[in-house]
């Protein structure tokens, strides 16, 4: 069973429909017991880090994610979900994350005179620095759809599975560690490339490549 974690952080419709389109019935779950029975977990999220972590822990999903990670179950974290994998976020005055990936989440900061729009919203290229099964068959620098103001800064460069440039700033747009893959972009909103990534995730055994 594939479980989509519903912890009150945003709309899960498009994620659910994308898996439906791929012929994989992913179930939206609100209880930790249901989630822990799943073979793979989808950890989406839109909104702020503080309310996200509160919702996540309030439903016991933090424990489910830790156990799934330890057991090597494939986990796909999207957007805010991906940000919550790190140790801490500077959003909302500082919030502790799950700490499954060492590093922090920081805000885009550009000099005012550069007039850079934040959030970073739209399609942008993702460079894949080292091969990962979920990016298999997707050409390097394929564009995916982003909407975010904060980004992950993992401590270990090998945890970066995707890199993107915005207004001169290079940031981590995907993280990978063990059976965990996290994308800052929205594969469920990234057309054919996004569906290809989700399909790869469904086929992935959770073992990192190479």
């Amino acid at each position: 069973m594939i479980a989509i974690l519903d912890y009150g952080a945003g709309n899960l419709t498009s994620v659910r429909l994308a898996f439906e389109r791929l012929g994989a019935g992913a179930q939206v779950v609100t209880k930790a017991e249901e989630a822990s029975r799943a073979d793979r977990l989808i950890f989406p999220g839109v909104g702020s880090a503080k309310s996200g972590m509160e919702g996540l822990c309030g439903r016991g999903f933090d424990r489910v994610l830790r156990e799934a990670f330890a057991a090597g179950k494939p986990i796909l974290a999207i957007c805010l979900g991906m940000q919550m994998l790190l140790e801490r976020s500077e959003e909302d005055g500082g919030v502790a994350g799950l700490g499954l990936v060492p590093g922090s989440v920081v805000e885009f900061a550009f000099p005012a005179e550069e007039r850079v729009k934040v959030p970073h919203m739209g399609w942008n290229a993702v460079h894949v620095p080292h091969p990962h099964p979920v990016f298999e068959g997707i050409p390097d620098n394929t564009a995916f759809y982003f909407v975010h103001s904060f980004y992950a800064a993992p401590t270990n460069p090998q945890d970066t599975a995707g890199e993107t440039e915005y207004a001169g700033k290079h940031f981590t747009s995907a993280v990978a560690r063990g059976s965990l893959i996290g994308t800052q972009f929205h594969p469920e909103r990234s057309g054919a490339a996004g569906l290809a990534l989700l399909k790869n995730f469904l086929a992935w055994d959770g073992k990192s490549c190479c």
Binding site: T13, L17, K117, G122, A125, Y166
Partner: protein
């Protein structure tokens, strides 16, 4: 590098996509969901649906259409028309829309921008801003006035000032439609597009007036728009989304190919 977006607008009237000139004289283009799927396959970056008869008929947006679209299209899309409350916004978003466009409602009840941003995040809240060129006055220093109800009602508000206020309230993006150029395919109103884009830190979509690929290029380079919206160019069959994007790329405008 963040890519410039091509957006196709689908005006839906009684369940069919139509295209009008200056908000009048509509011709039938096709089924909204089929067209959405077709444009998505052809490489459009985003879609906008306006249920243009919803408000006049005092009903909310066609949720069935939103649901059907969400099942078949996996790129971002926004909906507008017939949204009269935060509850309507919630329905549209839960049906699978990514964003909701608020136009007349936001002008008449600006608090809805704030409430919408609070409930769903500002990335879901698009301000639809219809602007009309007028003589410069102390009340309207930009020379562009906000109009509502499809251009029929001038509001005595400056378009740039309203854009700034709307962003402060919670709008996460602005779709700027120039009434004077809408549907006449002589190019976007670059002046007001640039004024607003430079005045706010959220993306601005240029809308109204695209007739050639050069017009789109101008919206990005001169209008400082983040996205360009087209309707008749592609509905008429004269252009394809992929063709437009390849031409833009040849002109040196970064787009998703």
């Amino acid at each position: 590098m963040l890519l410039n977006r091509l957006i196709v607008c689908l005006d839906v009237r009684n369940g069919r996509v139509t295209k009008g000139v200056k908000f009048a004289g509509n011709v039938d283009v096709g089924d909204p969901v089929e067209l959405a799927e077709q444009y998505s396959r052809d490489g459009v970056d985003e879609l906008v649906f306006y249920d243009i008869t919803a408000s006049a008929e005092h009903r909310s947006i066609d949720i069935k259409m939103v649901e059907e679209t969400a099942k078949r299209v996996f790129i971002p899309f926004s909906v507008g028309g017939g949204i009269s409350s935060v509850e309507d916004m919630r329905m549209a978003l839960l049906a699978g829309a990514d964003k909701v466009s608020l136009n007349s409602l936001a002008v008449l009840h600006p608090e809805v921008l704030h409430e919408g941003a609070l409930a769903f995040g500002r990335q879901c809240v698009v301000l639809g801003l219809d602007a009309k060129r007028v003589p410069v006055t102390p009340e309207i220093p930009s020379g562009y006035e906000v109009v509502i109800r499809g251009g029929r009602q001038p509001m005595g508000m400056d378009a740039v000032a309203w854009a700034k206020r709307a962003v402060e309230l919670g709008a996460g993006e602005i779709c700027l439609n120039a009434i004077d150029t809408d549907g006449v395919r002589q190019g976007y109103e670059l002046t007001i597009t640039r004024m607003i884009s430079d005045a706010v830190n959220v993306p601005v979509i240029a809308s109204g007036g695209a007739g050639t690929v050069q017009h789109l290029a101008d919206a990005f380079t001169q209008g400082h728009a983040s996205a360009a919206l087209v309707a008749s160019m592609v509905h008429s069959g004269e252009y394809t989304c992929s063709g437009i994007k390849h031409d833009l790329a040849r002109m040196g405008i970064p787009v998703r190919l």
